[in-house]
Symmetry: C2
Subunit: 140 residues, 2 copies
């Protein structure tokens, strides 16, 4: 149901093919992101990474996440509260956000592709983002 991102090994191949180097930092980050469904912020990825590889730089985390996003291996999701989150699920899907605690959950919704805006023919639409806001179970 939930599509995971490429395995750390696959990502390493892709990186190498592009002339990028495989470093311990990158390897670790690939592992941490793989199958991660928590929509972590850069800070929380950093926290996980620092536990395994003490001393890793937050700057490196940001850098790697940005590279993965440029390569289309992770998605940015910015629901407007605080930090950007990263979503290893790059499948077409939507998000539900708890406005209390900020939790973000993946969700599928039918009919999104059918949504057509009217009155903006001058715009070339490339993408539609749907975000549901509400309150999660814990926060109720």
């Amino acid at each position: 149901m939930i599509l995971v991102m490429r395995t750390p090994t696959e990502l390493a191949s892709v990186f190498r093919e592009q002339g990028r180097k495989i470093t311990p930092q990158r390897k670790l980050l690939f592992q941490l992101l793989h199958a991660n469904e928590t929509h972590p912020t850069a800070e929380s990825v950093y926290a996980m990474a620092d536990a395994k590889l003490p001393g890793i730089s937050l700057r490196t985390v940001y850098q790697t996440l940005n590279e993965l996003a440029e390569m289309g291996e992770v998605q940015f999701i910015n629901v407007g509260n605080g930090a950007i989150r990263f979503d290893p699920n790059v499948e077409d899907h939507q998000h539900v956000v708890c406005d209390e605690c900020g939790e973000v959950r993946d969700v599928h919704v039918k009919g999104v592709a059918k949504l057509k805006p009217t009155g903006v023919e001058e715009f070339t639409i490339t993408d539609v983002g749907v975000v549901f806001h509400g309150t999660c179970k814990k926060c109720k």
Copy 2:
């Protein structure tokens, strides 16, 4: 077609009813926001305001915009690029964003209310935001 916000006079009444004072700064901001369809950021509202009332504080602009938002007279819109924008149109509607220049346009879309996420019964959904991304005429 486009619903404008309350007139400066109406807003002044509402403010007074709530025990708030009407200052030159607020009067000006009410005027600047009324019928404004540019989805300005706080900075750009400040720029317009400073031209009319030199010396007005950016802090005051933020404050007043926040108050108007709390009162439901303007909407925050955060499309994930840079600063929050303010939309005096509080009617139910959606937005189209040019990913090149950041322009935001109001748009109406049918079927948004029908969108239902599946698999998140534990969430109480209170709102749905739909944002179309694309490229505007000027940027093509």
